[in-house]
């Protein structure tokens, strides 16, 4: 029997107090700044209340950034899950246990890289003249130039491919591990009923893994919010505003172009409200 002890209080209270302070102070202060008109260049400011928010909704670049962010979120989450499930099932089906271990190790490498490194690696690879990834295209077409990062139609996908390279391969490992934890009986039963291997996965194993796969998708949705490093290094939001996500636009408003810290903060506050509400609702649903 566990006697009453002071342990929960001494272990929990200081940590939670520090976490609360560290998270609430910036969050509340972000709201305060958003209601003012602070600029980087001067220390004077006054309260402007909601005018930053009203300006935002008339700002076409902001609306574009919202749209780019939504596209980014959908493209990276869907592509990651497709790659992860596809490769995970493939490993489960055709790779021997030894080979599985090798693939698992290889597939974890990209996600461990700093995003800045991954972005550079692929920025070199996508270089139209000297890149290794564009080389096959040059070879086939006899030297035509393909520059995925500076074409508005392909830039977002080119950057998203790096995100999927990092997360899709990593999640494939997790999908494999999840498949390995399944009891063999339902799979055997389906085999006796002459189900093909793809039918087994589509109708038996993947539905059995529905809950962990949804949690996995949830994690990816949260991680996809952190697109800044990739975009900052690879395109700076360009060409034009084709890859300018909300955090990129907030950063350039606040720090590169005009130093409008309050305007940037208003954007950050809107992002925060949107993500907290969305993810809290999703989380409750995942848990239920």
């Amino acid at each position: 029997m566990r006697r009453r002890s002071s342990l929960p209080v001494t272990f929990l209270v200081p940590t939670l107090a520090i976490l609360l302070v560290l998270s609430m102070v910036p969050t509340l202060y972000a709201i305060v700044i958003a209601l003012q008109n602070r600029e980087l260049s001067s220390s004077d400011y006054s309260w402007v209340w909601l005018s930053n928010f009203i300006d935002l909704f008339a700002d076409r670049r902001f609306l574009n950034a919202v749209w780019v962010s939504v596209k980014w979120e959908v493209v990276t989450v869907v592509a990651t899950m497709v790659v992860a499930i596809g490769l995970g099932v493939l490993m489960f089906e055709v790779a021997s246990p030894r080979l599985r271990n090798v693939y698992c190790l290889l597939f974890i490498i990209p996600v461990l890289l700093p995003r800045v490194s991954a972005a550079f690696v692929w920025k070199f690879a996508y270089h139209p003249l000297y890149g290794i990834a564009t080389y096959p295209y040059r070879l086939i077409t006899g030297g035509l130039i393909f520059d995925p990062l500076s074409k508005p139609s392909t830039a977002l996908f080119a950057v998203a491919s790096v995100d999927v390279w990092q997360w899709g391969l990593f999640f494939a490992v997790i999908v494999l591990k999840l498949l390995e934890t399944l009891p063999p009986q339902p799979i055997e039963a389906a085999r006796l009923d002459h189900a093909s291997r793809w039918q087994i996965h589509a109708y038996v194993t993947l539905p059995m893994l529905k809950a962990p796969l949804i949690s996995l998708m949830f994690v990816k949705m949260i991680e996809s919010l952190r697109s800044f490093d990739l975009i900052y290094v690879m395109t700076r939001g360009g060409p034009g505003v084709a890859t300018e996500t909300l955090d990129m636009y907030a950063f350039s408003q606040g720090f590169i172009e005009s130093g409008k810290v309050s305007y940037a903060s208003a954007m950050a506050v809107l992002m925060m409200i949107a993500t907290v509400i969305t993810f809290t609702m999703l989380w409750k649903r995942v848990q239920a």
């Binding site: 929960p8 929990l12 000297y130 490093d229 506050v269």
Partner: protein, 275 residues
């Protein structure tokens, strides 16, 4: 598992897998190769596999003050943030795992929800705050900010690790007259150590790779390695590519050192689920 016959489908599957495995490491390996090349061997329309290797790029990177300062800042900032994360996060995780209370679910959700906060939303106000206190562009400011990340991540991953420790062992220790604190120190920590090391390594990789907050909270003195590396490229194509490649390799090495630990961590997480 029933053995399958070799079918065309299987061969295609194996080919796709082999290609994916190749894609996982080749771009990075190519970057590492380029860091050993002279510029003439990099700027070629047809990629060159055979070249005279040079250590110039690596020597240049290691000899640069800005890179060394960045490395130092990264090690100090991440090291201390992880240390704070361990000291505050592990006991809290243990308390949540072993002393269930009404708020356990809420605490776990609160810790996870810190991950929803957009980094910009944290970085902008913190920048203003640190400027006002006079700690902007210092390592302590970065360490405090990163602690929010490390504490919450370590807590999040350590709760299941502590829950996986068989309760019987702890109960036996109580019967032997151990107090609550010594059960934590002498039983729970050592038994869960493997998973806990994985959680700590993960939090280190996370802050080592962090970019946006470091970018906003430093201007010259406290720049971490990712910032320094990204700045090298802003000098445009005037910087020899080999040097850039070498800086990417230097930046990527520390997280890769943890590859073994983290893949072991993944394995142990899923073995727990199985039983």
């Amino acid at each position: 598992m029933r053995p399958y016959r070799t079918t065309p489908g299987r061969i295609i599957g194996k080919t796709i897998l082999a290609f994916a495995g190749f894609m996982a490491v080749f771009p990075l390996a190519w970057t590492a190769l380029n860091s050993l090349k002279n510029n003439v061997d990099i700027i070629t329309r047809v990629p060159r596999l055979v070249f005279t290797p040079t250590l110039d790029n690596i020597n240049y990177i290691i000899g640069r003050d800005s890179v060394m300062t960045g490395l130092y800042n990264s090690i100090i900032a991440c090291g201390f943030a992880v240390l704070i994360g361990v000291v505050l996060g592990l006991p809290a995780a243990y308390a949540v795992a072993r002393y269930p209370n009404r708020w356990a679910g809420d605490i776990q959700f609160f810790v996870l929800s810190l991950r929803f906060l957009p980094p910009v939303a944290v970085a902008i106000p913190l920048m203003v705050i640190w400027l006002q206190i006079g700690l902007y562009d210092t390592l302590p400011a970065l360490i405090v900010t990163y602690s929010l990340l490390t504490i919450s991540v370590i807590m999040w991953l350590a709760i299941p690790a502590f829950q996986a420790v068989p309760k019987e062992i702890e109960e036996a220790a109580f019967v032997d007259g151990y107090g609550a604190y010594s059960v934590f120190w002498r039983i729970a920590l050592p038994v869960a150590a493997r998973s806990l090391i994985g959680a700590v390594a993960f939090s280190f990789v996370l802050v080592w790779n962090e970019f946006l907050i470091a970018l906003m909270l430093s201007s010259s003195n406290a720049k971490t390695l990712p910032i320094v590396a990204s700045e090298l490229s802003q000098q445009g194509m005037n910087v020899p590519w080999g040097i850039l490649n070498a800086s990417v390799v230097l930046l990527s090495l520390p997280p890769l050192l943890f590859l073994g630990v983290l893949s072991g961590f993944l394995n142990s997480v899923f073995r727990q689920k199985k039983t």
